[in-house]
């Protein structure tokens, strides 16, 4: 951005807009010339329109914890901090729906819902400061997805600020609604490349009466996968399930959280025990805090690759990751596996091979969610676009014609 442009942009921004310290918004050595923190949606919209007119590249900013996600930015002119837009817009507990501004932290929302015996059963293993907007934009999910699904299963309405200075809404605040195209879906996992999400409405759920985490350990994952599948097939009262492997433990562990009424939890526990015995392993209760220590989501995980494959391909992915000395977190019945390493511990060729396996054996994909920039470029975070890429390019052209939103970060250079 030239100094002229910078001045022009400063002049065009709403006078009340708070500018923030640009140094606080550096991304991998790039510091934006301007950082703004709009205090209202109107200011946000005016800011976006001004940036669009100046063709300034904008990075919407939540807690900033996922700025390494995606390909390195092609340009970076303005950091757009959304954390002031964090209001609770509407919450009627008996409707089991809630509407918020997306600068709100998930932890804050869960606290509000929790007071009413409810929760948004989206349990991404993100840090305390992660915002709703960031979670939607990255489609973050957690070990509860095996039962509850992902953000697309909860989002019932959305408002998005466009580069052209408009707010567009889709969906609404009711749990069932087919009026108009379901545009909200497009913004989930889009990494803020089609618009800046400003508001979101969700279905929420009652908190289970009881929760109990149990664990089993074995040297080989096979038996644990069988148990996981069977628990899923029988519909046991389980609301989190994952498989982990770490070098340090040098073994596999199955973590299951049972949830529900007392007798449902008790029955599930009994059946799981029987399954465990039949498969030669033993289960024992563990402290619920294990869920906050899953390896792929710790600061030491400097490289994180996420495989999404057909559940039947899980074993081959686990085996390959183990051979690559990765730490592993897997949601076997959902076909999701995270491998993680310290920087330098895995090569780009290994990751490309792993991707081939995911695509060929698992009919799926591998996304390099976190890695140093050179590795992300060498491997390509997203992999080869598929046959529907022309429609994706079309979406970008329609909704961000100047290409100012997170340029270059998304699939195929979008």
């Amino acid at each position: 951005m030239t100094p002229d442009l910078r001045q022009a942009l400063r002049d065009a921004l709403p006078s009340t807009t708070q500018t923030a310290k640009a140094e606080d918004y550096g991304i991998e050595g790039m510091t934006p010339p301007i950082a703004v923190k709009p205090a209202s949606e109107e200011e946000l919209i005016e800011t976006l329109a001004a940036c669009n007119a100046a063709q300034a590249a904008v990075v919407p900013w939540g807690s900033g914890s996922q700025m390494h996600f995606g390909m390195p930015l092609a340009r970076y002119d303005v950091a757009l901090d959304l954390t002031s837009l964090d209001g609770l817009l509407e919450y009627e507990p008996a409707d089991l729906t809630v509407s918020v501004q997306v600068g709100m932290r998930l932890a804050g929302l869960e606290a509000i819902l929790g007071e009413n015996g409810q929760w948004l059963p989206l349990d991404p293993l993100v840090n305390e400061s992660a915002t709703i907007g960031g979670i939607l934009a990255t489609n973050a999910s957690g070990p509860g997805r095996v039962v509850y699904g992902t953000a697309r299963d909860f989002l019932i309405g959305i408002a998005v600020a466009t580069p052209e200075g408009e707010t567009i809404r889709a969906g609404g605040r009711v749990v069932k609604n087919v009026a108009g195209y379901d545009l909200g879906k497009l913004h989930i996992g889009a990494l803020g490349t089609l618009g800046v999400i400003t508001r979101a409405s969700f279905k929420v759920a009652p908190l289970p009466e009881l929760m109990l985490t149990i664990a089993a350990a074995t040297p080989q994952p096979g038996a644990l996968i069988v148990i996981a599948r069977e628990a899923h097939r029988r519909g046991l009262a389980v609301n989190r399930l994952c498989l982990i492997w770490t070098q340090a433990a040098s073994g596999w562990q199955l973590l299951v959280r049972m949830a529900g009424g007392a007798s449902a939890v008790e029955t599930s526990r009994r059946q799981l025990n029987e399954l465990a015995v039949a498969n030669g392993v033993s289960l024992a209760p563990v402290d619920g805090s294990v869920w906050s220590r899953l390896p792929a989501f710790q600061p030491g995980a400097e490289i994180v690759a996420k495989a999404a494959v057909m559940p039947t391909a899980i074993s081959s992915i686990l085996e390959r990751l183990k051979a690559l000395n990765s730490a592993i977190v897997a949601y076997p019945t959902a076909g999701i596996v995270y491998g993680s390493w310290q920087a330098g511990a895995v090569s780009s060729d290994d990751l490309k091979d792993l991707r081939r396996l995911c695509v060929q054996a698992g009919s799926g994909a591998l996304v390099l969610e976190k890695a140093p920039a050179e590795l992300r470029v060498a491997v390509d975070v997203w992999g080869q676009p598929r046959g529907d890429f022309s429609l994706m390019q079309g979406l970008k052209r329609q909704f961000d014609p100047e290409g100012i939103l997170n340029p270059g970060r998304f699939v195929g250079g979008i």
Partner: protein, 487 residues
Amino acid sequence: MAVQNQSPKVIPTAAIAELCRALAPDRVLFKPEDLVVFEYDGTIERGQPQVVVLPDNTKEVAAAVRIARRYDLPVVPRGAGTGLSGGAVAAVGGVLIAMTRMRRILEVDVENQTALVEPGVVNLDLSKAVAKHGLYYAPDPSSQRACTLGGNVAENAGGPHCLAYGVTTNHVLGLEVVLADGEVMWLGGPVRDLPGYDLPGVVVGSEGTLCIVTKALLRLLSLPQSTRTLLAVFDSVEAATNAVSSIIGSGLVPAALEMIDKETIRALTALDVGYPADAGAVLLIEVDGLKEATSEDAAKVRRVCEQLGAGEIREATDPADREKLWAGRKAAISALGRLAPNYYVLDGVVPRTKLPAVMNAVMEVGARYGLPIANVFHAGDGNLHPNLLFDERAPGATAKVLAAGEEIMRICVDAGGSITGEHGVGLEKRDYLSWIFSEADIHAMQRLKAVFGAGEHFNPCKAFPTSKGCGEVHSSAIQAFGADAYV
């Protein structure tokens, strides 16, 4: 009484010849007597296509689309024609592509719990086919014995069990589609979380305006170990709706929570489904899951219903008994024909806590217009279906029904709800869209149409506020229905 809405383009014989070559002559219909059955769906709208094609596979769909495009003829995809918003009606004529011959279940992956199907597969047939593997397809519209999975995808259909398990969109993984230029493309795929924008997510519910679905990859669920079905009898709709709010508010989300009112029960008397004739309203409540969990849940449901004045609570004792309770719910809409020559089904949604007030307001509208209303609906989701009963032969009756319907839609919107929960916007509600969406919102939706290159090639005049070329359709369609055009 086949009335064309708008003077249709004359279809060149060359186009028909090309269609016959691309498909087979016996699967291209163009004689007026062959077209009559394709004139309407489950609504009051009508419109005759000039030609109907019955493709056997994706290639034939693509060929038909390309030929239509070359002759500048609109294309209307059609499933079973059970739609309740005029979606499958050829509003301005053109080529109607009936998907009913494409009804193969191509693949069932038991381990990964998915099924690859053609769009003409009937909803219930999929669940029947996979039952032997302990699996089922969860979205279960009340029309599931007839409606197609392609139509379900297009409308994002719901059903009684969507309260706990979600609607169609929650069960679609990938779609093979034909675009307006005849290109065949896969959107999404066998796994969730594929990198890129969620294209199946926007095609579901697009009412056949973006592309034609030629294959769908769907999620299957494991059949629950145990199911308990209860029928709670109340004095009034108000008491029953209060119970709905309390059940949901108690921290329990049943698998299904359906309401059937007095008027509907009256229509069902002849069927002997076992609903008490003197009830003001009944709730059909189902809980499923582990045996121990369902007995806990069933007890909770009983407690709440008793507290809120349920006079009687019956429970199905065996599968046949359960079938019988459900038979009443599933036959309810078609049984309304016993009460009046015609009925008009509405499909509004409101936040669940607003149900009691909204139901009162709905009944007040009926009383004011002198129209009896029968209610049978997905109460747990706040998705109401008031059915306005009338006789279209009475002078002015239809206009009255449409006016009352519009008021009821307004009530839903004013309560913070929506103009359609599952039946779609179609022809019927396109002018209400602007009650809930701004011009910018609607413009954004039209941009999506542009991305798909769909223009007005697919299903013109549907799902969006009336545009110039479509102005005629609405008014002439309103005069164009006959008694048999109602569900």
